[in-house]
Amino acid sequence: MIRNIPLAAMVGLMFTGLYFAMAILAPWIAPYGMAEIVGDVWEPSSPEHLLGTDNIGRDLLTRMIYGGRTTIFIATVATLISFCTGSILGFWAAVAGGWVDQLLSRFVDLVMSIPSLILALVILSVMPVTVPVLVVVMGVLDSTRVFRLSRAVAVDITVMDYVEAAKLRGEGYRWVIFREILPNALSPLVAEMGLRFIFMVLFISTLSFLGLGIQPPEADWGGIVKENADGINYGIGAALYPAVAIATLAISVNLVADWVLNRTTSLKGGR
């Protein structure tokens, strides 16, 4: 099993695992407290502060570890919300057809005709910016993409004989969706999940970078970029660390997702 994993996917898995482990173990591996001021402003890296200190003298490595925790946690929860709502509604639209399908599909078309960042900004202008609100807004806006995919996948499955048989047997929507369609639609959805997760990481980072995501003193990677952005003009690169972290996390998840997609779509690799 291990030997069959290509090198790129292996590297991706390793980095993804590393980031998730860091997120879970944050309080134990972080050298200082999250909001603890331990040094001067923007100290260069030293044995005490491996990445130096940030704009008000907090240890940057500690901020990065806690920031990663927030980013990964929010992205994960938002991805789950997006998948649950998107796929269930998508399957429902495919199974029910008729006006349910029309209503849901046209509504999704409408939401997708506005860039999701713009729509999120419009909604967040009146909502209190808290973690639950952010997660729900991101999850719901993104579920439109999952809806499209799962509807497209499910439409192909609903015309299969076994679904017909289940319907003739008198099974309800719930049985058809969860027992007939879901198991057969799972593999494309799982591959898509990796891409949605990356999109969420970029989304929350962008919102926080714009000052409309996680509020200080809580940290997330986008927020750390924002806090340290002024340093760039003085030649201090503190803002580049979280940006690099976002990029490496996204690339490694992408490599894994690519591999999963190839495995599930290629005839030889198969399950």
Binding site: L121, V122, T206, F209, G235, V244, I246, A247, A250
Partner: protein, 319 residues
Amino acid sequence: MAPILKLIAQRVALGLLLLFMVSVLIFIGTLILPGDVAQSILGQSATPEALANLRRDLGLNDPPVQRYFAWLGGVLQGDLGTALTSGQDIASVMWARLGNTLFLAFWAAAISVPLAIFLGLLAVRYRDRWPDKLISGVTLASISVPEFLIAYVLMFFIGVKLRWLNPTAIGFRPDADVFTKLEAIALPVAVLTLVVLAHMMRMTRAAILNVMQSAYIETAELKGLTLFSVIWRHAFPNSIAPVVNVVMLNLAYLVVGVVVIEVVFVYPGMGQYLVDHVSKRDVPVVQACGLVFAAVYIGLNLIADIVSIVSNPRLRHPK
């Protein structure tokens, strides 16, 4: 009426309908707050008088449907209302800023579109060799990187370390001459180009490969045409529609990328205006900006649609 004009008219009408629905959605988006908009704008410590005043100014005492039509009526006449925080007329501020944003986006498009198509063709020419592999690799990296990372990396190295260009767009003033303006936007344009370039290149590559693999290209090759005339006479006319589609989709993507880039480079455009007023909870400005962004986005998609109809005889003469 010629069938093609009818088709285009239908598309435009659909686009307008969509825009109307979007305006409803944007309006509802600012209503869904559980509780009171005025309270959330002013915060918990607001006095009852201030709350009452704001509610009256926002027209919150009227029913939502009436407020929506009052707003829409204003928008149709070019009156976008006044900003809550500054009391300025939104339309006049926004047109100036929209001009700045379009200036930025125009130069980004003018550089990235020809470059992406050229590189896409290069990738097709050297398919599965190193130029192609390099392009795929760069694409994977660039869709995984947030816009502001590219922006800060360029700003850090080119603007601050090497001092080739100004790190921010501070030099951009309305009264500056064109060269000063171009110098000020050089870095933001470079970033936007990088943001859309890889994606556009890859999609161009896919579109052209798709055409190149079809049977009529093989026929053309077999009857001994030169590579140039195969591409010019047979591949190019058939790939206009997909390539224009790619370009329009990426320009639409540019509209969103601009929001973040403007904030990074302190560029006085629409994106910065929107973000500033979201954090100030200035609802009328946010609604107006949201609507304009959505209109540009829908407009670009509409153009892509129409071009693909016009350039494809099968769509032009539906059965």
